[in-house]
C-alpha cells in the first residue's frame, strides 16, 4: 500500500489502492455533529421556556372598551405592567367586549374571585384631573386583587368605573340615603377638612322614594363614624332664612365647586360603623342636628295637635318645645274635617309632631307608653300646646307645650285617629307686621316738610351773615393784632429781662451775706475794745524808741574804732600766700603724673564696673531690698513705739518741757548782755598778730609743697592706683560682691535681730521707761532757769578769763608748729611715705605676679571638672548595668533556644533539610542540563 505511484501505476494501472471498507455511522460521524445538536437543544430550550413562562390567559368583559388595542394595552397592578391584552373579541350576544389578557405567571394565583378590573382613561372633572398619563400611553386596564392566592378564574366582569376603595386603601362601605338627591360620584367625605371617604354613583330606589349611593370611609377614619353620626351636604353654599335668622353657609372653596359631605358625632356613645349600614344624608347641618335631637335617642313618638287658628308660618320641621327645650319637631300639617268631633264642618288644621321621650328626660328606655303617660299627667295639670313666634322677623311659628293656669279641663286623647292628640290653647302670636306698620305710620305722620323748610331758612340766613364783608375782614385784623403782640414778646429787651433780674438778685444776696458776716465777726471779737488797747500799746512802745536809738549809735561808734587798715593788710598778705600756694598746687596738678591719674581712675572704675555688673552685685539689690524689708519691719516697730509714746502723752510732757525752756529763755536777754560784753573783749584781741602767724604757717606749707618729694607723691599715687586696679580686677575682689552679699545677709539678720530687739523693747515697756525719762527731762527743764542762771555766771566768768593770754598761747602754738614743719624730719616724711607706698605696691605686684589667685581659681576649676566627670561617670553607671542585664537576658534566651525540641532546633533542622533538598534539586538540574542542554531553550 505504500508503494510509489510509479510502481503501482506500472504494475496495476487503474487499481489505485484506496482505503476501503464500509464504516459504521459512529466511525464516519465526527464531532461536527455536535453543532446542530447544540443549536437544536438551544432552540428547543428557548421555545420551551417561552411557552413555560407564559402566564394564563384571562378574559375580562367590558361594556365599553374604547381605547383598548390588542398587543398594546397593558394590564397594570399598582401601576406596574403585569400583562398585555392579546385579543379583543365580542361576547356571543355582542353586548360586551371581551379582552383576553395574558397575565404574568407569578401573579396568576392572586387573580381569583376578588379580582377587579377597570379601564383607566383620562378624566377631567371639577375635582381634578386623573389618568393624565394615559393621554400619551393610551388607556390601560387596572387590576386590583388582594394578596391571598387562590384558584385561577378565567372570566371576569370588568367594572365601568374605578371602585370606591382604591388600591391599597381599606375602609368600610356603607349606603348613603337621601330623599332628594345625592352629590355626584366621587364627592369626598371631608372630616375637619381631611378627605376621609368618597361617595359612589347614586341609584334611585326601587320604589322611587329616594336615592341611595355606595359610600366608603377609609381606615382609620371609620372610628369617627358611629350611630350617633349625622352626615350632611356641604356642597355649594346654603342660604337659609329660617326661625333662627338668616344663614349663609359654605365650608370651603373646594367644596363650593366640587361638593363634599361632612359628618360629625353629635352625641356621645353609639356603636361603630358596620359594613352595609345605612345613613341619611341631610341637606345642612341644622337639619342633621335636629334629626339627631329628635330621632336619635330611643324611640320617637308621634302625636297630633289640632289648631283652630291661622297657622301660617308653621311648617314641617318647626320645633316643638317644652319649657324652652326642643323635644321634637313638626313633621307634617294637614287639613281635617270632622264634624262629629268638632260639631261643624269647618276645615281645621292638624299638625303631627314627633316627640322624643329621651329629650324630655324620661330616660333612655322610655318608649311611647311612658311619654303618653307623662303627657296625660301634665295635661291634667293644665298643659296645652299652643303656637308662638319662633322669630320676630321671619314670622315663623313653633309649637310650645306650656302650662297655662285656669284653662278648661281637657285630656290627652289617646284614641284619636291617626295619632294621639294633645289639646291646644289659643296662640300667643305677636303680630309683628301690624306693629311695624303702626310705627311706620307714625313716622309718616311727622311734619318733616315743615322742619326741612325751617332748616333751609336758617341755613340761608347763616350763609348771608358769613358772606358779609365785615365778617370777611375780621380774621385779617385778628391776625395783625396777634402779629404785633408776638413782635413785642420776641424783642431782645423783653427776652433779656429775666436774666438781668436774676443777676441783680444774686448780687444783692451776696452783699447781704457779706454784711451779715462782717457784723457777726465784729460782734464776736469785740474789735473796738482791742483796737483801743493796741493803740495804747503803740503809744507805750514809742516812748522806749529814743533809748534804742542811743544804743545803736553806741554800737556803731565801737565799730568805727576797729583798726580796719591793719586788718586789711594782714588779709592781703594772707591772700598773697594763698595765691602762691595755689600756683604750686597748680604746677603739681599740671604734672604728667597727675594728668595720667584720670586714666588710671578710669581703669579702676572699669574694673569696679565689672565688679558691679557681676552676678553677685546684681543680686545685691535683692539683698538690699530684703534688708530694707527688715528695716521696714524695724521702722514699723518704731512706729508702734512712737504710737505708744503718743498714747502715753509724751508730747504733752515735752510741751511742758518746752514751756520750761520758754521760761528759761526769758532770762536770755540777760545772757545776751553778757555775751555782748564778751564780744567786746574779743574785739580787743590782738588779731593782727594772729593773722601774721597764719601767714607764716602758710608760707611754710608752701615751701613744703614745693618740695620734690611732695611732687613725687602723685607718681606714687598713680602706681598705687594701678596696683589697686590690678587688685580690683583680681578674682578676690571679684568675689567681693559675694562677700558683700553675705555681709548684707548678715545685716539682714542684724536687722531681724534689731527688729526682735525692738520687739523686746516694746515688750519690756521701754516706752514707759522712756516716758519716765522724758518726765525726768521735764523735771530737769524746770530746773533750766536755774541752769541758765549758772550759765550766765559761767559766761560772766569767761568774760573775766584773760583771753589775751590765750591768744598769746595760740600764737606760740602756731609758731611751734611752724618750727616743726620747718625741721628736717618733717621734710623727710613725704619720702618715707613714698617708700611705704612703694612697699605696698610691691606687695600688690607680688600678689599679682605670684598668680596666687589664678592658681586658686585653676585648682578650683580642676576640682569642679573632676567632680563633673565623676558625676557623668556615675550617671552612665545605671545604663551600663541595664545593658549588662539585657545582654545576660539575651544570652539566656539564646542558650535556652538551643535546648532539644525547642523551636530553634526544629527550625535549624528544617533549614538544613531544605538546604539539602535544594542542593539535590540543583544537582538534578545540573544533571538534566548536562543530558539535555536544549531544555534550557525549550523550557522543559
Amino acid at each position: 500500500m505504500t508503494d510509489t505511484p510509479q510502481n503501482t501505476g506500472a504494475a496495476t494501472p487503474g487499481q489505485v489502492p484506496i482505503k476501503s471498507g464500509r464504516k459504521s455511522f459512529w466511525d464516519t460521524s465526527s464531532i461536527i455533529w455536535l453543532i446542530p445538536l447544540i443549536a437544536l437543544a438551544v432552540a428547543l430550550a428557548a421555545a420551551w421556556r417561552n411557552y413555560n413562562d407564559q402566564g394564563p390567559l384571562i378574559e375580562v368583559s367590558f361594556e365599553n372598551a374604547a381605547g383598548i388595542k390588542a398587543d398594546e394595552t397593558k394590564l397594570r397592578y399598582r401601576d406596574i405592567t403585569v400583562g398585555t391584552v392579546e385579543e379583543i373579541s365580542f361576547s356571543p350576544d355582542l353586548s360586551e367586549v371581551i379582552a383576553s389578557i395574558r397575565v404574568e405567571k407569578n401573579l396568576a394565583p392572586y387573580i381569583n374571585d376578588d379580582a377587579q378590573f377597570w379601564i383607566v382613561r383620562p378624566e377631567v372633572s371639577a375635582r381634578g384631573v386623573s389618568g393624565l398619563d394615559t393621554v400619551l400611553s393610551g388607556v390601560y386596564i387596572q387590576g386590583n386583587w388582594d394578596n391571598e392566592p387562590g384558584p385561577l378564574r378565567e372570566t371576569f366582569e370588568g367594572l365601568d368605573d374605578a371602585p370606591l376603595l382604591k388600591l391599597g386603601l381599606t375602609g368600610i362601605t356603607f349606603t348613603l340615603r337621601s330623599q332628594e338627591s345625592l352629590p355626584g360620584a366621587g364627592t369626598p367625605f371631608l372630616y375637619k377638612g381631611v378627605e376621609v371617604g368618597v361617595v359612589g354613583d347614586s341609584v334611585v330606589n326601587e320604589d322611587g322614594t329616594g336615592v341611595t349611593a355606595e359610600a366608603v370611609i377609609y381606615e382609620p377614619y371609620t372610628a369617627f363614624v358611629t350611630t350617633s353620626t349625622r352626615f350632611w351636604d356641604i356642597s355649594g353654599f346654603s342660604f337659609s332664612l329660617g326661625a333662627a335668622g338668616a344663614r349663609l353657609n359654605f365650608t370651603s372653596l373646594a367644596s363650593l365647586i366640587s361638593g363634599g359631605i361632612t359628618f360629625e358625632n353629635i352625641g356621645s356613645g353609639g356603636t361603630p360603623l358596620t359594613e352595609g349600614a345605612v345613613y341619611d344624608l341631610f341637606p345642612d347641618e341644622n337639619t342633621a342636628r335636629d334629626d339627631f335631637l329628635v330621632a336619635s335617642d330611643g324611640q320617637a313618638v308621634d302625636v297630633s295637635m289640632v289648631f283652630e287658628q291661622n297657622m301660617a308660618g308653621l311648617g314641617a320641621g318647626a320645633a316643638v318645645e317644652l319649657g324652652g327645650l326642643r323635644v321634637g319637631e313638626v313633621t307634617g300639617i294637614n287639613g281635617i274635617v270632622d264634624s262629629d268631633r268638632f260639631g261643624d264642618s269647618d276645615v281645621r288644621l292638624i299638625a303631627t309632631a314627633r316627640i322624643n321621650p329621651g329629650r324630655i328626660g324620661l330616660g333612655d328606655e322610655a318608649g311611647e307608653e311612658e311619654l303618653l303617660n307623662y303627657l296625660e299627667d301634665r295635661i291634667a295639670e293644665g298643659m296645652r300646646a299652643r303656637l308662638t313666634n319662633a322669630s320676630i322677623f321671619t314670622g315663623g311659628l313653633k309649637v310650645e307645650l306650656v302650662q297655662l293656669p285656669g284653662v278648661a279641663v281637657a285630656a290627652l286623647d289617646r284614641a284619636a285617629e291617626p295619632l294621639p292628640r294633645i289639646p291646644t290653647a289659643d296662640a300667643s302670636v305677636t303680630d309683628v307686621s301690624a306693629t311695624a306698620q303702626g310705627v311706620l305710620q307714625r313716622v309718616n305722620d311727622l311734619p318733616i316738610e315743615e322742619v326741612m323748610q325751617s332748616i333751609t331758612d336758617f341755613l340761608d340766613n347763616a350763609s348771608a351773615l358769613i358772606g358779609s364783608e365785615e365778617l370777611q375782614k375780621a380774621p385779617a385784623e385778628l391776625t395783625g393784632i396777634l402779629a404785633a403782640v408776638r413782635g413785642v414778646a420776641e424783642s431782645e429787651g423783653v427776652q433779656a429781662m429775666p436774666d438781668q433780674i436774676s443777676a441783680l438778685l444774686t448780687d444783692l444776696q451776696g452783699t447781704s451775706a457779706t454784711l451779715s458776716r462782717v457784723i457777726t465777726v465784729l460782734e464776736d471779737q469785740d474789735a473796738a475794745g482791742k483796737l483801743t488797747t493796741a493803740i495804747d500799746n503803740v503809744g507805750i512802745a514809742t516812748e522806749t524808741l529814743p533809748d534804742l536809738v542811743a544804743d545803736i549809735r553806741a554800737v556803731l561808734a565801737n565799730a568805727q574804732e576797729v583798726p580796719l587798715a591793719e586788718l586789711s593788710q594782714n588779709v592781703t598778705d594772707l591772700l598773697a600766700s594763698a595765691e602762691a600756694l595755689l600756683t604750686q598746687a597748680d604746677a603739681l596738678v599740671g604734672g604728667a603724673d597727675v594728668q595720667a591719674l584720670p586714666a588710671e581712675l578710669r581703669g579702676i572704675l572699669a574694673s569696679v564696673r565689672e565688679v558691679t555688673t557681676s552676678a553677685a552685685v546684681q543680686a545685691l539689690p535683692t539683698r538690699v531690698t530684703e534688708l530694707l524689708a527688715g528695716l521696714q519691719g524695724t521702722s514699723t516697730r518704731l512706729d508702734g513705739m512712737i504710737a505708744t509714746l503718743q498714747e502715753q502723752d509724751t508730747v504733752g510732757k515735752l510741751n511742758g518741757a518746752i514751756d520750761n525752756v520758754g521760761t528759761a529763755t526769758d532770762s536770755l536777754p540777760d545772757l545776751m548782755t553778757d555775751i555782748r560784753a564778751l564780744l567786746a573783749k574779743a574785739e580787743a584781741l590782738p588779731l593782727e598778730q594772729l593773722s601774721q602767724d597764719v601767714s607764716d604757717l602758710l608760707s611754710t606749707a608752701e615751701a613744703l609743697i614745693a618740695n620734690e618729694d611732695v611732687q613725687a607723691v602723685p607718681v606714687e599715687l598713680r602706681r598705687i592706683l594701678a596696683s589697686l586696679s590690678d587688685v580690683t580686677t583680681s578674682a578676690d575682689v571679684q568675689a567681693l560682691p559675694t562677700r558683700v552679699t553675705e555681709l548684707l545677709t548678715g545685716l539682714q539678720d542684724s536687722s531681724a535681730t534689731l527688729s526682735r530687739l525692738l520687739r523686746d523693747v516694746e515688750t519690756q515697756d521701754t516706752v514707759g521707761k522712756l516716758t519716765a525719762a522724758v518726765n525726768d527731762v521735764a523735771t530737769a527743764a524746770e530746773g533750766l532757769p536755774a541752769l541758765m542762771q549758772e550759765a550766765r555766771g559761767i559766761v560772766q566768768n569767761a568774760n573775766e578769763i584773760p583771753l589775751d593770754r590765750l591768744s598769746d598761747q595760740a600764737t606760740q602754738l602756731l609758731a611751734s608748729a611752724n618750727a616743726l614743719v620747718d625741721q628736717e624730719s618733717t621734710r623727710a616724711l613725704p619720702g618715707e611715705l613714698n617708700e611705704a607706698l612703694q612697699s605696698v605696691q610691691d606687695v600688690l605686684t607680688a600678689m599679682q605676679d605670684g598668680g596666687l589667685v589664678n592658681n586658686a581659681n585653676a585648682t578650683l576649676a580642676s576640682a569642679r571638672d573632676a567632680a563633673d566627670a565623676i558625676a557623668q561617670a556615675s550617671a552612665t553607671l545605671p545604663r551600663l548595668a541595664a545593658d549588662l542585664r539585657a545582654v545576660a537576658n539575651q544570652a539566656g534566651t539564646t542558650l535556652s533556644a538551643y535546648a532539644d525540641d525547642s523551636s530553634f532546633t526544629r527550625e535549624t533542622r528544617g533549614a538544613i533539610r531544605q538546604i539539602q533538598s535544594a542542593a539535590e534539586a540543583i544537582e538534578r538540574l545540573a544533571r538534566t542540563i548536562e543530558r539535555n542542554p536544549n531544555s534550557l531553550i525549550l523550557g522543559r
Binding site: 505504500t2 505511484p5 484506496i18 453543532i35 437544536l40 432552540a43 400619551l136
Partner: protein
C-alpha cells in the same frame, strides 16, 4: 505508460488526479504521488478525498436550518416610539412594506432574507445528495452551482447589517428607538452556518463518477 493510462481512463469527463495516482496539496497546489502523507513543500497533510467532508456539510447545514426557524418566527426589529411599540419579523416586515407600497424594498428584503438562504439550503442539500446518489447534471455544472452558492451566500447578511445600522442610528431616547430582536442573532447564525457548510464541501467529490465511487466504497 502514464500517458496511456490517462487516455485510457479519461472516458468523457477527463482524467482526475486520483485516477492518475496523484494527490494535490489543497494549500499550495503541489501534486504528489498518491499515498504521500504530507506535503513536502508546505507540510499540510495530503488526502485524495476528504471522506468526512460530507458529514461536516450535513451537520453545519442542519444547524443552519435550525437557526433559520427562530429567525423567521421571532421579531427581527423592535421599534419603540413615543406612542407605540411594535415588533416585526422578517416576512412580517416585508409584508408591511408591501402594504405601505414599498414593493421594491420588500422584494430586496425577501430576496436577501428568504430566497437566498432557502436557495442555499436547497442547493447544498442537492449537491451533497448528488455526490452520494449521482446526478443527471454534469460535474462541471454542479461545480458551477457550488461556486454561485459560495459567492452569493454572504449577501444574506445584508439583513443583519440593516438591523445593526438602524439600531445604532435610531436611538432618540423616548421619542423613537430601534432595537434588534432575537431573530437578528439567529439569522446571523444561520447564515454563518450555511457559509461554513459550503466551505466544508470537498468539491473534488463532484468529479468522481458514481461507478468509481461504488468501486471505491
Amino acid at each position: 505508460m502514464v500517458g496511456m493510462e490517462i487516455t485510457g481512463t479519461g472516458s468523457g469527463s477527463g482524467l482526475t488526479a486520483r485516477e492518475a495516482g496523484l494527490v494535490a496539496c489543497r494549500r499550495c497546489a503541489r501534486v504528489w504521488p498518491m499515498g504521500t502523507e504530507s506535503c513536502g513543500r508546505c507540510g499540510s497533510p495530503l488526502q485524495s478525498r476528504d471522506t468526512a467532508s460530507l458529514s461536516r456539510v450535513w451537520a453545519l447545514w442542519l444547524a443552519g436550518v435550525i437557526c433559520y426557524i427562530p429567525a423567521n418566527t421571532n421579531p427581527m426589529l423592535i421599534t419603540q416610539t413615543l406612542l407605540s411599540n411594535s415588533k416585526s419579523t422578517i416576512v412580517g416586515g416585508a409584508v408591511d412594506l408591501i402594504h405601505h407600497g414599498s414593493i421594491g424594498v420588500a422584494i430586496i428584503i425577501l430576496i436577501a432574507s428568504v430566497l437566498i438562504p432557502v436557495g442555499k439550503f436547497l442547493a447544498i442539500a442537492y449537491l451533497a445528495i448528488s455526490v452520494r446518489r449521482g446526478s443527471g447534471i454534469s460535474a462541471a455544472r454542479r461545480h458551477h452551482l457550488f461556486e454561485v452558492v459560495e459567492f452569493i451566500g454572504r449577501w444574506s447578511m445584508i439583513d443583519v447589517f440593516v438591523v445593526a445600522i438602524l439600531s445604532s442610528l435610531v436611538q432618540l431616547s423616548v421619542v423613537a428607538s430601534i432595537h434588534p430582536g432575537s431573530a437578528a442573532l439567529t439569522f446571523a447564525l444561520s447564515v454563518i452556518f450555511t457559509m461554513l457548510s459550503a466551505q466544508a464541501f470537498d468539491t473534488r467529490l463532484f468529479w468522481d463518477t458514481t461507478d468509481q465511487r461504488n468501486e471505491t466504497t
